[in-house]
Amino acid sequence: MELSRRSFLKLSGAGIGVAALAQLGFTTPAYAADVELRIREAKESTTVCPYCSMGCSAIVSVQDGKIVGLEGLPDSPINRASLCSKGQSIIQVANNERRLKKVLYRAPGATDWEEKTWEEAIPAIARLIKDTRDATFVETEEITTKDATGNDVKTEVTANRCEGIAQLGGAALDNEECYLASKFARALGLVYIEHQARI
């Protein structure tokens, strides 16, 4: 029988065992179980635990857009598949009825929340930020320095800071978000920028 180089390459690959079995009469359908298969699709992806700072990895299994399983990632050199009690419960953070699902608003003096939309929230918050920022902004301030002879010299310099707004948080955000939060706040001129690292 002729065996060209090309077909040898092909035959020595993964399919050859199946082909050889077929020649012997064992085609795959001939021995495959006669079951009606309801095939489901699923996806795995890795995540990093949102709790402590070890950075343990986990595999999240998702079916139909819902997390159905979570296990420690054996490939992570840091946690080697193990997860602590908090790490194992990440699934309860995602699948939790208590999660906030709507924008909420509390008017001054009100005793409860009302639901709002993003379309209402974004312009309203931007307006609050702008009004407070513009009202409390320090554009310039006078500084005192010494001249060559040691006398006080007063100069007006740009300060461009907003003292009326503070920003807190970040230790639970992703790096990209932390970077944006920093850029967002400093563009507004904020100087009261703090997060959990300080407390």
Binding site: K102, L173, D174, N175, S182
Partner: protein, 948 residues
């Protein structure tokens, strides 16, 4: 962490102090166990409580909260007294041999103060905290603490030439004086001053400082000291400090860390695998949020914030902030690349000076940190607050005050996964909602599995996590919220104008949006990392073609962009590409240069080898850098090992994610080899040098430069000679900024409260300071306006206050996390630890007639909180000294996770609002560390009573 989590396995002794990893970083413990199994490592825990970590330790001692400096200084004294010093390290890599300014005076001379204290301003002038310099060169004067063969180029450094004592340690030149305690007669070096300073921290007998201040058993102290100091000062042994908020939440927290860092330098433990100073950070990305400058005193990449007085212009900023030596001499590159990231197109048109003008400048000397922020909010200065997943009403210090400060806000915007105590501050127990006029917006946010992005762990490792599912309901990622808000603000300022309008309208915020309005985070990440600004009109496509590979390639002419220089190269580093290409067997496709080495094409295709940008590729293949150690225990093989050689794997996985800076896993790693370039510990070697003095084995990314002596830039007379210059040993801590002292500083002028760590008492203490008449850290702000104006509400108990006789300390439990919103809304964890508890000793329980399970109330001057009494042997009363007499001090332990809303609140209530608040921080004082203003939440005074 100077080191990283897996590296814990390389330690010989652990000192766990102010941390409880077994409870709060549970998965870390396996690495300690591995060190114990494989290296026979010893684990020491020193803590006010017998913690879960203590239960698994080899040695444990109680310690009165807030007395860590006294303990650490006594360890330093123990090392000096016994000549347990790694002298080769100390002589070459620290400032110990440098002569100190003769005008410098220490607490031993000034009753608790260092020279330069201004009692009016309550601040130090640090001008005497420096060195004697050689008038000819301007360099600090180094002397020989041990006999050395001096390096031809580096005065005061070189290879030790003996003699050694019975333990094999070099005998210092002035050993007779040291032995006799006659430190004043020594040459006035940093070492002599340090020895004198710590000589007051005695450890012998019942009248010693460790007994009377710390409440430790002196015999136990010696056992601990002999284990830690006695073992790890040996050149081939390393010990590390694992610490957390137990050290930092203190009015002298920074000095506590310094004290241990000094000890580590004397023992030669920093820069080696298994060593270092390891902060066990509490939150998944608190490292990242710090790196990206979400703090009032730093910009992204630890660049200091500009102030109006010193830095009115860009030139002034760079002139005043750029040091003469060390890595920070590159500040102009870092800062200009940062400004380009914020205002690139504007700067291209108007220049970087103008862009700098748009950037906010703080008022010099004003504190804007957490405590100050809430003080200013309470004073009505701050009108609006934005919080991204932070819950100060539970997590903030003196939280009743911080909640009361929020009452004064006009508006509050909170993005979070859950309803938190903070967003419900207007209906907290004890207030009338109608009286509170604050407008509150609550924005539902996506959780970690509902968005993609990287987080940086305690070991500085940025790991990517992939979005698995959509967020629930209308929840959005924080990035989406920031992006949409910034767009709306740009529109508003464009339409209406406003203050410093260009800062917003000209802000470089050109991220493309996907169909949901989410910004393109790859573009954000490229901007954080760095790229060369494209010619002509900006486009992301052009930017992606020119990533900057590492901060050394940033430019100071405005041609490069890097939002956070320490992350520069994260997008794709050469090493990433090369090693990945090799393993993926595509390295053959990479072009080679004349030298035969792979040349990395700088284009997008490369950053997306195999379809994914490198920053996202958690390399699931685990190729670690390894070597083999010959059976003599000395010879290092990187290839062709003899069969009987032992494989050494230090757990550095360079292909697993990416660590800043430049994927270096152990910082200060120059110190892992001695002067001659030989690894201190052959079984923990990171580098070797070849005979021609070039670098041989590289297990980690070097934290130093090498310059072969054949280099034409090398002085003629030294060509071909072995000198430290070829091995960067003279600048082994080159992140320092001090000229002539790019070494470990046992004496430093960059602290506000002293060049050496000195013990003071916590702001609230049952006893007077035994070491001096200075009760509290004199450089800390001891009274913020709230305490000054309303001392009865927010003030402090007196020393030994009879109303508040017990010392209270706060801590966490493994079932909960931080302010609780991430765990108290979760049934598995909540049910495991459903209610707040108050831990007391049997002795105190007997005194007060309290039984296990009783409901008790803990009260400080600032608030009350209830919990279930847990009577344990994990706490015990400590006998300490008080005015010459021994006194028993009781310690009360309290978890701080609980509040008043959630599935679990901390009390018997479930699933909603509670009428009581169970937040331990209602008790803590509003006072902080002198350097960082981190609140003092780990030692304060309380009373305790049984409710029922």
């Amino acid at each position: 962490m100077t080191n990283h989590w897996v590296d814990l396995k390389n330690a010989d002794v652990f000192m766990i102090c102010g941390a409880n990893p077994s409870e709060n970083h549970p998965c870390s413990w396996k690495w300690l166990e591995k060190a114990r199994e494989e290296r026979g490592a010893k684990i020491i825990v020193v803590d006010p409580r017998f913690t879960r970590s203590a239960a698994r330790a080899d040695l444990f001692s109680f310690l009165r909260p807030g007395t860590d400096i006294a303990f650490f200084n006594a360890l330093i004294k123990y090392a000096i007294d016994n000549n347990y010093i790694n002298w080769e390290y100390v002589q070459n890599y620290t400032n110990a041999p440098i002569l100190v300014n003769p005008d410098f005076k220490g607490p031993w001379e000034l009753d608790g103060y260092f020279s330069g204290y201004d009692k009016e301003k309550k601040k130090y002038d640090t001008k005497t905290w420096n060195y004697q310099t050689d008038p000819a060169t301007g360099e600090p004067i180094r002397v020989q603490l041990i006999p050395i063969a001096e390096d031809p180029t580096f005065h005061g450094r070189g290879v030790p030439i003996g003699p050694k004592d019975a333990n094999g340690n070099y005998i210092p030149v002035e050993w007779d004086l040291i032995k006799a305690g006659r430190y004043d007669e020594m040459q006035p070096t940093v070492f002599a001053k340090l020895a004198k300073h710590v000589s007051r921290y005695t450890y012998d007998g019942p009248d010693s400082v460790v007994a009377k201040v710390c409440g430790m058993d002196p015999e136990k102290f010696k056992e601990i000291a002999e284990t830690y100091v006695g073992i790890t000062h040996k050149r081939e042994k390393t010990g590390n400090l694992m610490y957390a908020m137990g050290l930092t939440q203190s009015t002298y927290g920074t000095e506590k860390i310094r004290a241990f860092a000094i000890l580590q330098a004397l023992l030669g433990n920093t820069g080696l695998p298994g060593g270092g100073i390891n902060a066990l950070r509490g939150e998944s990305n608190v490292q990242g949020s710090t790196d990206f400058g979400l703090l009032s005193h730093i910009l992204p990449g630890y660049i200091s914030v500009p102030n109006t007085t010193d830095h009115p212009t860009l030139d002034k900023y760079l002139e005043k902030s750029t040091p003469k030596a060390g890595i920070w001499t590159w500040l102009p590159r870092f800062f200009k690349s940062y400004l380009m990231a914020y205002y690139g197109p504007y700067a291209k048109k108007n220049g970087l000076d103008k862009a700098y003008d748009l950037h906010p400048k703080v008022k010099k000397g004003k504190n804007y940190t957490h405590i100050a922020l809430f003080e200013d909010m309470y004073a009505g200065i701050i009108k609006g607050l934005i919080a991204w997943g932070q819950n100060p009403v539970v997590g903030g210090a003196c939280s009743n005050l911080e909640a009361a400060a929020m009452d004064k806000l006009d508006w509050f915007v909170a993005a979070d996964l859950w309803e938190t105590e903070s967003m419900n501050f207007w209906r907290r127990p004890g207030v009338e909602p109608k009286d509170i006029k604050t407008e509150v917006w609550v924005l539902p946010a996506a959780s970690s599995v509902e968005k993609s992005g990287a987080v940086t762990n305690s070991g500085r490792l940025a790991q990517y996590r992939w979005k698995a599912v959509e967020p629930p309901g209308e929840a959005k990622s924080d990035a989406w919220i920031m992006h949409q808000l910034m767009k709306a603000l740009k529109d508003l300022y464009e339409a209406e104008g406003g203050k410093n309008k260009e800062a917003i309208t000209e802000l470089f915020w050109a991220y493309e949006e996907d169909e949901h309005g989410d910004p393109n985070l790859d573009q954000v990440q490229l901007e954080m990392s760095g790229f060369t600004w494209p010619e002509g009109d900006f486009s992301w496509e052009a930017a992606f073609k020119k990533p900057v590979f590492g901060f050394a390639n940033l430019k100071d002419d405005g041609s490069t962009v890097s939002g956070t220089w320490i992350y520069c190269g994260q997008w794709a580093s050469d090493a990433d590409i090369e090693s990945a290409a090799k393993i993926l067997k595509i390295d053959g496709q990479l072009p080679k240069g004349d030298d035969g080495k792979v040349k990395i094409p700088r284009d997008k295709q490369v950053t997306e080898w195999n379809g994914i940008p490198f920053n996202k590729a958690q390399w699931h293949f685990q190729k670690t850098n390894v070597y083999w150690l010959g059976s003599d225990g000395q010879t290092i093989y990187t290839e062709n090992p003899p069969p009987d050689a032992k494989l050494i794997d230090l757990g550095i996985s360079p292909n697993w994610a990416w660590a800043w800076p430049v994927n270096r896993r152990i910082i200060y790693n120059r110190n892992s080899v001695d002067w001659s370039g030989k690894p201190f510990a052959p079984d923990k070697a990171l580098f070797t040098f070849k005979d021609d003095e070039t670098l041989g084995m590289k297990i980690d990314v070097p934290d130093f430069y090498t310059q072969p002596s054949s280099d034409p830039a090398f002085p003629e007379e030294l060509r071909g000679k072995a000198t430290m210059r070829t091995r960067s040993g003279a600048t082994s801590f080159f992140m320092n900024r001090e000229p002539g002292a790019l070494v470990a500083r046992l004496f430093s002028n960059s602290m506000v409260d002293g060049p050496f760590p000195e013990h003071y008492e916590p702001r609230e203490s049952p006893v007077k300071n035994m070491l001096s008449s200075v009760q509290n850290n004199p450089a800390a702000v001891l009274e913020w306006p709230s305490a000054k104006n309303e001392p009865e509400k927010w003030g402090f108990a007196e020393v030994g206050d009879k109303r508040f006789p017990y010392v209270c300390t706060t801590y966490r439990v493994t079932e909960h996390w931080q302010a609780g919103q991430m765990t108290r809304n979760n049934s598995w964890l909540g049910e495991a630890m459903p209610e707040n508890f108050v831990e007391i000793s049997k002795e105190l329980a007997d005194e007060l007639g309290i039984k296990n399970g009783d409901l008790v109330e803990v009260e400080s001057l600032r608030g009350k909180v209830q919990g279930v009494a847990v009577v344990t042997v994990r706490l015990k009363p400590l006998e300490i000294g008080d005015n010459g007499t021994a006194r028993k001090i009781h310690i009360v332990g309290l978890t701080w996770h609980y509040g008043y809303i959630g599935l679990f609140t901390g009390g018997p209530e479930r699933n909603g609002m509670s009428k009581k608040n169970y937040a331990a921080n209602q008790l803590t004082p509003h006072v902080g560390d002198a350097n960082t203003t981190i609140p003092e939440s780990k030692a304060f005074l309380v009373n305790l009573r049984k409710v029922k």
